[in-house]
C-alpha cells in the first residue's frame, strides 16, 4: 500500500518520542549548565604545571629540560631555563623555568607534553569553561597561571595521581636510602683515611687541588 512506509516511520518516531520520557537510553541529553555529566578520569583539556607543597615557586616540579617544548606538535610551549639551580623533591640540584608559557590559542590538547615529561611536572586539566575577553594576553598562560598544587591533580585525576604519588614516594625513598648509604660510606671512609699509611683508591687520594687563577 502506498504510504505504508511513511506510517511505519511515524510509528518509530512516536515510539522514540514517548520512550524518551521513560527510557534513559533514549534521552541522553542533560540541561546544561544546571545539570552536568561527570567527566571521565581520562578526560583532558589543557596542560598545567604541578608543584609540591604550598609554594608554587619552590615546589614546581619542572626542571626546564625543554623536552615538551621540542616535542609539542604545534610548538605552543615557550621555556626559558634558569642560570641558577634549586633542589628538587629528592634534594638534587636542578634548574627551573624562569619563563614557562603556553599559548592555549595554539595548544591542541594532544597530551604529548604529558607523555614525554620525565619529571611528572605537566599534566592535563579538565577545566573546559574557559573564556577571556582578551584575545592575545588572555590566551597566553604564564607560569603563575599554569602552576597548580598536587592536591588539585589528586582531585581531578584520582587514579592517575595515586600512581604518580606512589612512584615518586618510591623514588624519594630510594634517593634517601642512597644518600644514607653514601653518608655511611663517607663516614667509614673518613675513619679509614684517618688510619695512616692507607690510601683509598677512588677520589679520596685525588691530586691536590689546582690553584685557581682568578681571571
Amino acid at each position: 500500500m502506498l504510504g505504508e512506509g511513511i506510517i511505519q516511520g511515524l510509528v518509530e518516531t512516536a515510539r522514540n518520542f514517548f520512550g524518551s520520557y521513560v527510557e534513559k537510553d533514549r534521552l541522553t541529553t542533560v540541561q546544561y549548565p544546571e545539570e552536568r555529566h561527570t567527566l571521565p578520569e581520562a578526560s583532558r583539556n589543557f596542560p598545567f604545571l604541578l608543584y609540591d607543597g604550598t609554594d608554587p615557586e619552590a615546589g614546581l616540579r619542572c626542571v626546564a629540560c625543554q623536552i615538551c617544548e621540542k616535542e609539542c606538535p604545534p610548538r605552543c610551549i615557550h621555556i626559558e631555563k634558569s642560570k641558577d639551580k634549586k633542589p628538587d623533591f629528592v634534594g638534587k640540584q636542578q634548574a627551573y623555568p624562569v619563563v614557562f608559557d603556553i599559548d592555549v590559542a595554539v595548544c591542541m590538547s594532544c597530551q604529548i607534553c604529558v607523555e614525554v615529561c620525565p619529571f611528572d611536572a605537566i599534566r592535563m586539566d579538565k577545566e573546559f569553561e574557559l573564556s577571556t575577553s582578551n584575545r592575545f594576553g588572555g590566551l597566553l598562560w604564564t607560569k603563575k597561571e599554569l602552576a597548580k598544587p598536587n592536591e588539585y591533580y589528586r582531585k581531578i585525576h584520582p587514579v592517575e595521581a595515586a600512581e604518580t604519588d606512589e612512584r615518586r614516594e618510591q623514588e624519594l625513598a630510594a634517593a634517601q636510602a642512597k644518600a644514607a648509604a653514601a653518608e655511611a660510606a663517607r663516614a667509614a671512609q673518613t675513619s679509614a683515611s684517618a688510619t695512616p699509611g692507607e690510601a683509598s683508591g677512588n677520589g679520596a687520594s685525588a691530586p691536590p687541588a689546582k690553584t685557581v687563577v682568578p681571571q
Binding site: 502506498l2 504510504g3 505504508e4 512506509g5 511513511i6 511505519q8 516511520g9 518509530e12 518516531t13 515510539r15 522514540n16 537510553d25 533514549r26 541522553t28 567527566l39 571521565p40 578520569e41 581520562a42 578526560s43 583532558r44 623536552i67 616535542e71 609539542c72 606538535p73 591542541m108 590538547s109 594532544c110 597530551q111 604529548i112 607523555e115 614525554v116 592535563m124
Partner: protein
C-alpha cells in the same frame, strides 16, 4: 600558471532564457555541502550539464607540517584529517610507520584497535546516513537518532583516550593506554543495545516511499568507472565491486573475524544507503567477536622508541579501510627523525573524482543527495 583560466567563481547569470545555460555556484556556504566545498554547476533548466568541484578552502598543508615534525608529532595532526574518525586516521598512520620501521604490535593492542576502529566506523556510518536523510528533507529526526547513539560511542572514546573526537590514541607499536575491564564491559553493553537501534533506524525509513523515489536510479556509478576512478569504500561496494581492504590486506588481525562484505547491485544512491546500513550490522559482528576474544597482555611494544624514532632510509605505503574508503599513508624516510616525504591518500578527495559523472543529466536537487552519498569530510579533502 598553465592550464585554462577558471571561470569567475561568483558569476551567476540570474536569468537564462529558453535554451540558455545557467551557471550556479553551489557553496562554499551551502548547507548541503558538508563543509566549505563548492560546486561550479552549469544548468540547462534543472538538468546538470557540467559540474566542477572546487575545494581547498580548508587547506593547511598537513603534509608539509608533518615533514617538519617528528614521527610522533604527526599523530595528533592525523586526528584532524577526517575529524569524525580520528581513531581510524591514527591507525592508518601508525600502520604506515610500523611498516616503515618494522615495528611489531602486541596482540591486545591489535584487538583494542579493532574495537575502537569499528566503533568509529559505526558512528561515522550512522551519522552519514542521518546527514544523507537530512539532505533529502527528513529534517533532523534520523540525524538526531544517529547522533544519540554516536554520543554514547564518543563518551566511550573520552573515557578511553581523554577526548571525544581528537583522540590521539594510537602509537606506533601499540596504543597509548590500556583499556580497563569496566570500559570493555561498557562497550559490551553498548554493542548489546545497538541492534535494537539499528532495527528502529531501518524501519524508520527503509520502506519510505519518498526515500525510494528520491534515491533509486539516482547518481548511478557504473562498476568499470568506479574501478578506474579509484573509488573505494562503501561507494565502490555499492557499485558491486567486492573490495574491502579489511578482507584484501587483512591488516592487523582482521583475518580472525568472521564478517561479510555487503555489495550493491545498481550503484545508485539507494544502494549506497543500504550498503552502509548493512555494514553497520557486520561491524557489530566484528565487535562481538573482538570483545569475546580480547586477550590480556601489554599494549605497547617495549622496544619501540616513541620519541626520536629514526627509521632506516626507505619508504612504505600503509593503507587501511577507513569508513570513507582506502586511507593510505606514504612515508619516505631518509634516516632522520622526521619523514622526508609524508603523503596522505585521502579517500574523500579521490571519491570526488567521479562526482561530475554521477551528477550529469540529473536534477539540481539530486546533486545534493548524490554529494551526501559520497560521504566527504573537508578536513580530509583539503588537508
Amino acid at each position: 600558471m598553465s592550464g585554462p583560466v577558471v571561470d569567475d567563481p561568483i558569476a551567476v547569470k540570474p536569468i537564462a532564457g529558453p535554451g540558455e545555460i545557467m551557471e550556479v555556484s553551489m557553496g562554499p556556504h551551502h548547507p548541503s555541502t558538508h563543509g566549505v566545498f563548492r560546486m561550479d554547476v552549469r544548468l540547462d533548466g534543472e538538468r546538470v550539464v557540467r559540474l566542477k568541484p572546487v575545494f581547498g578552502y580548508l587547506h593547511r598543508n598537513h603534509e608539509k607540517i608533518a615533514e617538519h615534525g617528528a614521527y610522533l608529532a604527526s599523530i595528533p595532526y592525523t586526528d584532524r584529517l577526517d575529524y569524525l574518525c580520528s581513531m581510524t586516521n591514527n591507525w592508518g598512520y601508525v600502520l604506515a610507520v610500523e611498516k616503515l620501521a618494522g615495528i611489531a604490535v602486541p596482540e591486545r593492542a591489535e584487538y583494542i584497535r579493532v574495537i575502537v576502529g569499528e566503533l568509529t566506523r559505526f558512528q561515522n556510518h550512522a551519522g552519514l546516513i542521518g546527514f544523507l536523510l537530512q539532505d533529502m528533507g527528513a529534517s533532523g529526526t534520523p540525524l538526531m537518532y544517529a547522533f544519540r547513539e554516536r554520543e554514547k560511542i564518543l563518551d566511550l572514546f573520552e573515557a578511553l583516550s581523554g577526548a571525544r573526537m581528537m583522540c590521539n590514541y594510537m602509537r606506533f607499536g601499540g596504543v597509548r593506554v590500556d583499556c580497563s575491564a569496566e570500559w570493555l564491559d561498557e562497550v559490551r553493553q553498548l554493542v548489546g543495545r545497538l541492534p535494537r537501534f539499528l532495527d528502529e533506524f531501518e524501519s524508520l525509513l527503509r520502506a519510505n516511499e519518498i526515500l525510494m523515489a528520491r534515491t533509486q536510479g539516482v547518481g548511478v556509478l557504473p562498476r568499470e568507472l568506479a574501478i578506474s576512478a579509484g573509488v573505494t569504500g562503501p561507494l565502490l561496494r555499492a557499485s558491486g565491486v567486492n573490495y574491502d581492504i579489511r578482507k584484501v590486506d587483512k591488516y592487523g588481525i582482521y583475518d580472525r573475524f568472521d564478517f561479510r562484505v555487503p555489495l550493491g547491485d545498481h550503484g545508485d544512491v539507494y544502494d549506497r544507503y543500504m550498503v552502509r546500513l548493512l555494514e553497520l550490522r557486520e561491524m557489530l559482528k566484528i565487535l562481538e567477536q573482538a570483545l569475546r576474544d580480547i586477550p590480556e597482555g601489554p599494549v605497547m611494544d617495549p622496544k619501540t622508541r616513541l620519541r626520536g624514532l629514526r627509521p632506516k632510509a626507505g619508504e612504505a605505503y600503509g593503507r587501511i579501510e577507513s569508513p570513507k574508503g582506502e586511507l593510505g599513508f606514504f612515508l619516505i624516510s631518509d634516516g632522520t627523525g622526521n619523514p622526508y616525504r609524508y603523503r596522505v591518500r585521502p579517500p574523500s578527495m579521490i571519491n570526488l573524482t567521479i562526482l561530475e559523472d554521477m551528477c550529469l543529466g540529473q536534477n539540481i536537487a539530486d546533486v545534493v543527495i548524490i554529494l551526501g552519498s559520497v560521504d566527504i569530510v573537508l578536513g580530509e579533502v583539503d588537508r
